[in-house]
Amino acid sequence: MGMRWHLYKKRLKSTWNVYKRNKKGMVGLTITLIFIFIAIFGPYITPYDPKKIDKTAMWEPPSFKHWLGTDNLGRDILSQLLYGTRISLLVGLFATLISMALGTLIGLLAGYYAESLLGELLERVIDFFLVIPYLPLMIVFATVMREMEIKLPLFWIVIIAIGITGWSGTARVVRSQTLSVKERQFIERARSIGAGDFDIVFRHILPNILPLVFAEAVLTIGGSIIAEAALSFIGLGDPTHISWGMMLNYAFTYAAPLRGAYWFFIPPGLAILILVLGMTLTGYALDEVLNPRLRER
């Protein structure tokens, strides 16, 4: 139905109009877009090959030649930072996709079947994952997967480890939203015309909670990026790819703080901070804008 498209566009436009006026949302969006731009075009605008070792220029502080200085092997920090954006964002994105899918599915089931045994069970599972600190859990998963010598590139192991520990926040939000949508009269109407459980959950409940799921997703990407940085920092990341976490790992391994080589560890740290801040602001703004109470009538 071609007509459907233009209705979606209308909706998008009106959502954008409201979003535009949300100051923190605009700040967040701008930051996020800048980083996305860097991620896509970064490798083309880096002044140096980030992996190029230059023994003549080791530990150089920021200068005209190297805007952010060099690391212990003479590699340009700025180039590493720009390259790393891509990895951080990709890992964040894929890991988020996994946690969103998992979280949404579990949340929907936990909410829809809340009164039955399945629902109670799932609720406990969600609570369990919520309560356990994600960092240790993630470390355990990552380590176990490596030990098990699963035939997957390290890159994907990292993503999976983050994805399967980060779903509980989404699940909780989805579950509570499902509980409230479930009670609305149009759900009862759907039942009365003969819709089965599957139809009700995926045709009625999901579309009605999708906007909030989306907002939740943006927030989760921020968390995933930090998670990736954490894993890489600890040494469980993928050393073949440059990421901000990896940069921090090297910085501390080679005692950059002791040497006073602030340019080695502050840029990646700041990058993480600013990007996650940007995404969080965007996520909160989206949540405000898409709140169902405001949007429908």
């Binding site: 009269q185 149009f186 109407r189 009365s192 015309i193 139809d199 579309p207 009605n208």
Partner: protein, 337 residues
């Protein structure tokens, strides 16, 4: 009588268990129930509009949901008289129920809440057909949808199919709800306060559509409302409910002009009348309707009844008795008052 009955309800009960805390469970206190519907029996004739009237909490809405088995009754029988003879609804299993669903449909009270805001009119109307696998191709689907939109007087139907609920007025939304019930070609429609949330000036139009459809399609209606003046003009026969039981039933004109049960008398005496020149004696009952968790003994109306007789009314529950043609009352003292 039996050969023109469409629906017959026998001693229907819908009780909701009250959730017990752990301590009560350990104390082995008896399970408490909210007795929303506590043994009602009535019948609806083919092509008739039967009204179930009463104040909020009397069980009328729960009855409708039980008839559709959106809520499971815990006792009683429901007989549907179709082409193939009587079917007893409470005994149907899930698969049979799904097949049967198309025969009884419901119209809900709140036009703003009964439509999925994410579904266009087309989606809302095609869902019943798709879910029940009643159409073979998209051409047939579109035809049926356009035709049912015309039935509810939404002209031109093509302009409505791509609209979303928030783009429609209350009256239009309610008509879409009616259309979505009609699209399955049901034989009985349960209308739960179909106009009480609409602006007064649009109610007439929607009611007219409902009547027109009844004539055109030979439908039978159960009309639920708290508004007795509306029940009088729309319904052929009515049943007055109080705290889960039917206390009086008969033709709407008869019950309202000549009420026999004390509750009905009081209710009729306080019906709002839009006429400043009419003065009448109002029987204003004291207190409120008790909770369905603690139903009074004997006749459940006895604590508020102006004619209460000790030893009679609080001892035994009265049953519905026929006092004149099709006029039944459940009261021990109906002859004396």
């Amino acid at each position: 009588m039996l050969n023109n009955v469409k629906l017959r309800v026998e001693d229907l009960r819908v009780w909701f268990p009250v959730r017990r805390g752990l301590i009560e469970f350990l104390q082995r206190k008896p399970q408490k129930f909210v007795k929303a519907v506590d043994g009602i029996s009535f019948y609806i004739k083919k092509g008739e509009i039967f009204g179930l009237v009463g104040e909020s909490g009397c069980g009328k809405t729960t009855t409708a949901r039980a008839l559709m088995r959106l809520i499971e009754p815990m006792g009683g029988k429901i007989f549907f008289y179709g082409e193939d003879g009587p079917i007893e609804l409470t005994s149907l299993n899930k698969k049979q129920l799904k097949k049967f669903r198309t025969k009884i449909q419901m119209i809900f009270q709140d036009p703003y809440e009964s439509l999925d805001p994410k579904q266009s009119v087309f989606d809302a109307l095609s869902e019943p057909l798709k879910v029940n696998k009643l159409v073979k191709n998209s051409k047939e689907l579109l035809e049926r949808i356009l035709s049912v939109l015309e039935d509810v007087r939404l002209y031109p139907p093509e302009s409505f199919i791509d609209r979303y609920p928030h783009e429609l007025s209350g009256g239009q939304r309610q008509r879409v709800v009616i259309a979505s019930a009609l699209v399955l070609n049901p034989e009985i429609i349960l209308a739960d306060e179909p106009v009480s949330m609409l602006d007064v000036s649009i109610r007439g139009e929607v009611l007219r559509i409902l009547l027109e459809l009844k004539e055109k399609r030979g439908l039978t209606y159960l009309f639920i409302t708290h508004d007795l003046s509306l029940a009088r003009v729309i319904c052929d026969r009515i049943g007055v409910m109080y705290l889960g039981k039917i206390v009086e039933t008969g033709s709407s004109e008869e019950v309202i002009k000549n009420p026999k049960h004390p509750y009905t008398k009081a209710l009729v005496s306080v019906i709002p009348v839009p006429d400043p020149t009419i003065k009448r004696e109002k029987i204003i009952l004291k207190g409120e309707v008790p909770s369905p968790m603690d139903v009074p003994s004997g006749c459940r109306f006895h604590p508020r009844c102006p004619y209460f007789k000790e030893g009679v009314c609080n001892k035994e529950e009265p049953t519905l008795m026929e006092i004149s043609k099709e006029h039944l009352v459940a009261c021990h003292l109906w002859e004396d008052i």
